[in-house]
Each structure stands twice: as C-alpha cells, then as structure tokens.
Amino acid sequence: MHTELAVQTSGLTRDFGSFRAVDGIDLAVPAGSFYGFLGPNGAGKSTTIKCLTGLLRPTAGSISILGTDPLADPVSVKRRIGVVPEDLALFDRLTGQETLTFVAQVHGIDPATSKHRSSDLLDLMDLKAAGTTLVTDFSHGMRKKLSLAAALLPAPKLLFLDEPFEGIDAVASRQIKDLLLSFVSRGGTIFLTSHILEIVERLSTHIGVIDGGKMVAQGSIDQLRAGAGSGKTLEELFIGLVGGDARVHAALDWI
C-alpha cells in the first residue's frame, strides 16, 4: 500500500568538522501521523530537526518535506510548516501579541484573520493576560506556549516540535496534548522529539529512534512492539534499542 509521506529523507548526513552528528538516516513520516522521534542526549535529534526545517544544510542526502525539496524551495516549505525549536525562537522585545502579529505578517496572513487566530491561541494557551507583556519577562513555560502558538498560527500542515513539553505545567501540558491530537485528527502531521517517553507513547502513532546519529528503529508503535515482543512498554523498548547502563547499580556505592 502506498502511503503519502510528509517527511522523507534519504541518507541524511550532517557533519560538524570531523564529528558526524547525523549519519545517513532514512526517515519516513506518514502524512497525518504523530511521529515521535526519540533518542538519548546527543543522539542527533535536534540536528535532524534543524536539517529538516532548513536551519542547517545536510552534508549529504536528500530531504522531502510535504513533497518539496526544502533546499531547492525553502520559502514554499516554510509556508506550510510550523516549528517549535530548541531555543524557542522568540524576539525578547516583542510582546506575546506582537510575536503572533509578526508571524502572521511574514506568512502573509491578513490582519483580520491574524487578530482572530491570535486571540484564539492566546486564550487557549492561557496567555491572554500576557499578550501585552514583553517576551523577555515571560517564564520558560510561557515562552514555550507562545512558541507553540506562533507555530500554529499559520495553520501549518506539518509541525516540528523539539521538546515541547519540557518546563510546561500539568494543566498546560494536558491542553497542549489535546490540541496536538486535534491537529492530527484534522489531517495534520506532527514530528515531535521528547524525553518524556510516557507522553510519546500516549500521543504517537509512529516512532523513530536515533542513537549516535543513526536510525536504530522506525515504524508504527504496533510494529515496533511486535518486533520487540508483546507487553513491552515504550521505555523498555527504547532502552533495549539504545542500550541502558546497568553499571549504575554496581557503581557509586558511596552514595
């Protein structure tokens, strides 16, 4: 059966000098899926996202985002995606409302639509009162929510989220999860990295695992579970793939 792919890479490689951060990965993210991209610290998750969103040029390999090569036509791709990057990408000296206005303007959204969508998003993210506060005075959680609101405002077809739940309180986390699930149910695609495996397990339909810059597993959750043996949690599956460190029990006996 042919599945339309929202993100597809072939041999995606990225070097930093002599260090290979991403080593020939082949991603296949089906359109309309919630794709959890997992890996231990320093595995290459953020570098992969940066390559996919056009912040970094791959050293080798090809990328297709929503059927378009982002290296050949970056503006067209950026019009159809939303990104919550690692550093949250916000202007410190704009207010919450102004940040959304900026995003609307660069996406060519008319002022009336921009106003309507901004109001909805600020309301949903519980940022209405902070709409006139400068981002520099936002807490980390508020910044994260604003960054997500900015990514959602142009109504993208594909969302890249780098650790979106880090530093978010339980209530906001629940709201965001519901929002993301609703986004996927309406045909959107999400590419998410997170260290919180429970969240990935609950939300994702598909999972990719990267370790040392290489893809070690990819597929739907059911496929991966079937491969690993039934009854395994995602955590057990993940540790099995990237290798857990059992030495911790033996060492540090002085603690």
């Binding site: 930093f16 000098g17 940066k50 969103t53 056009g54 912040l55 970094l56 040029r57 503006v75 067209s76 950026k78 019009r79 990104v83 990057p85 690692e86 550093d87 949250l88 990408a89 916000l90 202007f91 410190d92 000296r93 704009l94 207010t95 409302q97 102004e98 940040t99 206005t101 900026f102 995003v103 303007q105 660069v106 996406h107 060519g108 002022p111 921009s114 902070a130 709409g131 006139t132 506060t133 400068l134 520099t136 005075d137 900015a150």
Partner: protein, 568 residues
C-alpha cells in the same frame, strides 16, 4: 578560607584559559572573527607589561627621591597623579565590564561557604582588575625605592600604606559590584541605570572638546576682553582642600611623604584614616553583599507594551514580511537601553552643541572640525545620528538573538529579510537625524536653501552606500550581544564596528567632495542639490549591486548565524 579563595582563583583562571583555547569556531572565518574579537584584550594585556614596568620604575625613583629628602620629588608627584585615578576606576570599571565577567553571587549561595568567605572571594576578584594590577607596582616599588635610599622604617610604613590603599581600591570595587547587582536585580531600575550611563558618557566625553572649543572661538569673540576669573569663597576653597586631603590616594601620598620627612605623627594619622576608610568600605561592602544574597533572583514588574495598530501595518513599498522585520528592528531599538541610547544620545549631544552655539554664536572648532553656523551644526549632528547606529546596524542579525531563528524559520526570502533590516535600520537612524536638522533650521534660520537641502540628500546617499556593507559585515562578523548592557557587551563585533565606521566616513566624505566641487571649484552652490540628487541615484544603483553580494554573503553565513545563536 584560603582553600576557598584558591578554588575561586582557579575557577577564574580556567574560565580565562577555556575562553582562549575552546573557541567553538566552526570554520576559518569564525576563527578569524573570534581572533579579531580577542585581539583587543590581548593587545591591552601586552601593553600592560611595559606600562607596569614603567610604573614600577617611576615609583621606585619616586620612593628613592623621597628617601633622599627631595620634597617635592618629581617622580613621586607623578605617582600621586597616577594613583589618583585608581579609586575612580574601581568605581566606574565594574559598571562597564560585561556582566558575565562578574560571577552572580546568588548562585554561590548553593555552595557550603560562609557568607564572609563568599564576600572575600568576590572582593578578591578585584585584584585581577586592570586598575588594581596597575596600582600594585606603585605601592610595592615606592617602599623599594625608599629602602634603596636607606630609609627602611619609612619603607615599611609606605608598604603598610600601600597595602591599605590596595584594600581601599578592592573595597570600592567590591562595593560597586554589589551595589550594581542590587540595582540591576530590579530589571526596570537596571535598564534605567544603563540608559543613564550610556547617555551621560557621550555628553561627558564631549566636555573636553567643548571646553577647548570655548577657547578657540573665532571671529569677534577672539577680540573680546578676557572674562574675569571666577573666585570661589575662601571657605569653599578651604573645605575643598580638606575633603581632598581625605581622598584615599592623598592619604597614602601624604602619609608616605610625612614619614620620609620624619613626621611620624602625621604619617600615623593618615595611615589610621586610610585603615578606617578601608574598614568602612569593606563593612559597607559586606552589608550590601549580604543584601544581594538575601534578595530574590529578580524583581520588578513585568514590562508591558501597549498594543498599537501601527505595528501591525505594512510599511509602504515593502512586502508584509519585510515590513514585519523592519518594525521588529525598530521595536528592538525602542525597547532596549542600548537602542534607546542610539536614538537619544545624538539628541543629548545636539542639546549640548546647541547650548554652546547659542552662548557663542559663530564658528566652533570641535576636534579640529570647524562648524560654521547652522549648516555645519546640522551636518555634524545629523551625521552623528547615523554613526550612532553602529552597534545595531553593524550587528543587525545577531542582535535579535533567538528572534533571528524565528526569522530564519519563517517563509522569508533572503532579499525580503535584508530589505526589512535595511529599512528598519533607516527608521532608527533617520528620525533623530531629521530632528537635529529641524532644530538647526529653527535655531539658525540662515544660509542658502540649496546647502540646507544638501544635508538630507547627503544623509540618504550615505545610508544607501553603507546599508549593504553593514549587512555583509553583520553576516561575516556576528556577535551575540546584550543590548541591556552598559559596556562592550552591547557593541557590535570590533572589526565590523571599525569597518562600519570607515564605510560611514568614506560614504559621508563622498558627499563633502560633491558639495566642495559645486561651491568651491564650480562656484555654483545652487548646483549642490542637483549633483547630490544625481549622486543619490548612483548610490542607489551601487547599493542594489552591493546587496547582491550581501544576499550571497548572508545565504552563505546563515547557518553559522543560526548555530551561533543556538550556542549562546
């Protein structure tokens, strides 16, 4: 205590070495950029070696002269004047050092260290400050000189005095640093302080030039009778002298002089005063430091900005994206102390110049530049408005910090982004320049219309010629900055700033040549606007061509820019 001080000394040493060794450069150009940035401090370090040697020689000669009964000793007088600046530098210095150089003391609370030891560790960092390092050879070599002349007892007293003076300098530095931490803890207060300092410094730096200008006023003023000297009342002179005698370096100098002259009582009195000053400063320093440790990590209400429809509009002639970039740039300038200073400091200067002009109508020499009437005044001040934008214009991408990532992720073409930045910078530079021009017209109301019109045309031509090189330099030499900073942490990359300044001078100079050609050689001032309009057209074409290079440079460096900002 010694163990902890040693640990802090090691910490600062490793931070220095790591900053030199581990540059994190991604390519040759970044390595070059980082090397250029570090050249200034390295050169300063190299210059300090001969300076220290010279100071040591002068101080030794001063001590030796005192020991031989030379009163006053020429070298010791030199020592006196040099030392005078130590306490001043120890107050002003911490205000201008990047905040990163001064460890946040609240973080140290997590360590199992008593508060008085923490204070000692923080105060000890002042021993590495330039002014302390330059004070050290003096206070050590004066006693050496005295000892060499055979006055051993005087040498011991001078050494004690010198160490007390060092304690005072360190105490002042520690107190200023703690006060600064306490003030900037409230963000609004911190920003206000930064703005005040940024505005005051240019005005103060102009004072010598203006005072000099007062002396060089030409024309009728030259033949005026000299004004009567102002005589202060005797009590004011006496009080001033008494207060000055209590200045720490004066206490040290007078104590050393007295002991060399055999007046042990006067010397002991001065030393006691110096010791009391040091003790009082450290007691106060410890008190303020304790307040810093007790106060929360940050205070002050959240800063808000009224929602204005104007910010949501699209600037005429620009795409919505480019317009959004331009308006974001303007808001950055309006909402940061450094940005506000760019907008306000030329106006402060203009106020000072206008006051001088109104007091002494006629020509004014400022650093060798003759400002003839309103035209000169308007040209000078409006050009300063353009040059004042250097910290933003020559680092136009990196000043956005994380905001730049948002721009890079947005569906903006490089051309849109660069044109938005160029227009944004123009919107920051031109309103103050226009205001200077209007004020000059209002004050002077004389001169030919053709020459008045030359000023805005020259500014436009200058900006057109500089905007593309500014984008190229900003892409090649980005610097992560803090526009809330008073000191160099808010400046553009040194090389970008230098080359940017040169480009302003060259571009501005081309207009001067055109004006001179029309007025002096062709003797037809009415031709000035015509020639300058033609020059604006040529500058526009040159600018368009240079922007092709700017776009290519930006495209080639955008990845480095993104990585630089995410690594910050």
């Amino acid at each position: 205590m010694v163990r902890i001080l040693r640990a802090f000394a090691w910490l600062r040493w490793r931070m220095l070495i790591n900053s030199l060794e581990k540059t994190g450069a991604r390519d040759r150009l970044e390595r070059f950029s980082i090397a250029m940035e570090r050249l200034g401090p390295i050169m300063a370090g190299i210059i300090m070696i001969p300076s220290t040697i010279v100071l040591a020689i002068v101080a030794s000669a001063g001590g030796y002269g005192l020991g031989h009964g030379d009163q006053p000793s020429m070298f010791f007088e030199a020592v006196r004047y040099i030392l005078f600046f130590g306490p001043i530098a120890s107050i002003v210095g911490p205000l201008f050092l990047p905040a990163a150089d001064r460890t946040n003391p609240v973080r140290l609370l997590l360590l199992p260290i008593p508060r008085h030891t923490l204070y000692a560790a923080q105060a000890a960092t002042a021993l590495g400050d330039v002014w302390t390092i330059l004070t050290l050879p003096i206070v050590l070599c004066v006693p050496l000189g005295l000892a060499a002349s055979g006055a051993i007892a005087s040498a011991i007293v001078a050494l004690a005095g010198g160490l007390l003076l060092l304690a005072v300098v360190v105490g002042l530095s520690a107190l200023t640093t703690s006060l600064l931490h306490l003030i900037v803890r409230d963000r609004r207060r911190g920003e206000l302080l930064a703005l005040l300092f940024i505005l005051i410094i240019p005005a103060v730096s102009m004072l010598p030039g203006l005072l000099n200008a007062e002396r060089h006023v030409r024309g009728a003023a030259r033949h005026r009778p000299a004004r009567e000297e102002i005589h202060l009342p005797a009590w004011a002179v006496r009080s001033g002298a008494q207060i000055f005698a209590l200045y720490p370096t004066e206490l040290y100098v007078r104590s050393t002089r007295a002991i060399a002259a055999g007046d042990a009582r006067t010397s002991a009195t001065r030393l006691a005063a110096l010791a009391m000053t040091a003790a009082a400063l450290h007691a106060l320093g410890m008190f303020v430091f304790a307040r810093v440790l007790e106060s929360p990590g940050g205070s002050g209400g959240r800063r808000t900005a009224a929602a204005r429809e104007a910010w949501a509009r699209t600037l005429p002639g620009l795409t919505p994206g480019a317009s959004a970039v331009a308006l974001a740039q303007v808001r950055l300038a309006l909402r940061t102390p450094r940005g506000r200073s760019i907008l306000l400091s030329p106006l402060v200067m203009m106020g000072v110049f206008a006051a001088v002009f109104l007091r002494r109508p006629g020509a004014l020499d400022v650093g060798g530049v003759a400002l003839n009437g309103g035209l000169g005044f308007a040209a000078f001040t409006s050009f300063i408005c353009l040059v004042a934008t250097l910290p933003i214009v020559m680092n136009q991408f990196a000043i956005d910090n994380a905001g730049m990532t948002l721009a890079l992720l947005s569906p903006l073409s490089d051309a849109e982004y660069l044109s938005g930045k160029a227009i944004g910078n123009a919107l920051i530079a031109f309103p103050p320049a226009g205001l200077c021009l209007l004020v000059a017209i209002a004050i002077f109301r004389s001169g030919s219309l053709a020459l008045w019109s030359a000023i805005p045309l020259s500014l436009i031509a200058t900006y057109l010629l500089v905007s593309a090189p500014a984008a190229i330099l900003s892409a090649l030499f980005p610097r992560v900055v803090d526009l809330n900073s008073i000191g160099r942490a808010g400046n553009a990359h040194g090389l970008a700033g230098l080359l940017g300044m040169l480009s302003f001078v060259v571009a501005g100079g081309s207009n001067v040549l055109i004006i001179l050609a029309a007025t002096t050689w062709l003797k037809r001032p009415s031709l000035v606007p015509v020639l300058l309009i033609a020059w604006c057209v040529i500058a526009f074409i040159i600018s368009r061509l240079l922007f092709v290079i700017a776009r290519r440079t930006f495209a080639a460096r955008r990845e480095n820019l993104a990585l630089l900002l995410s690594d910050r």
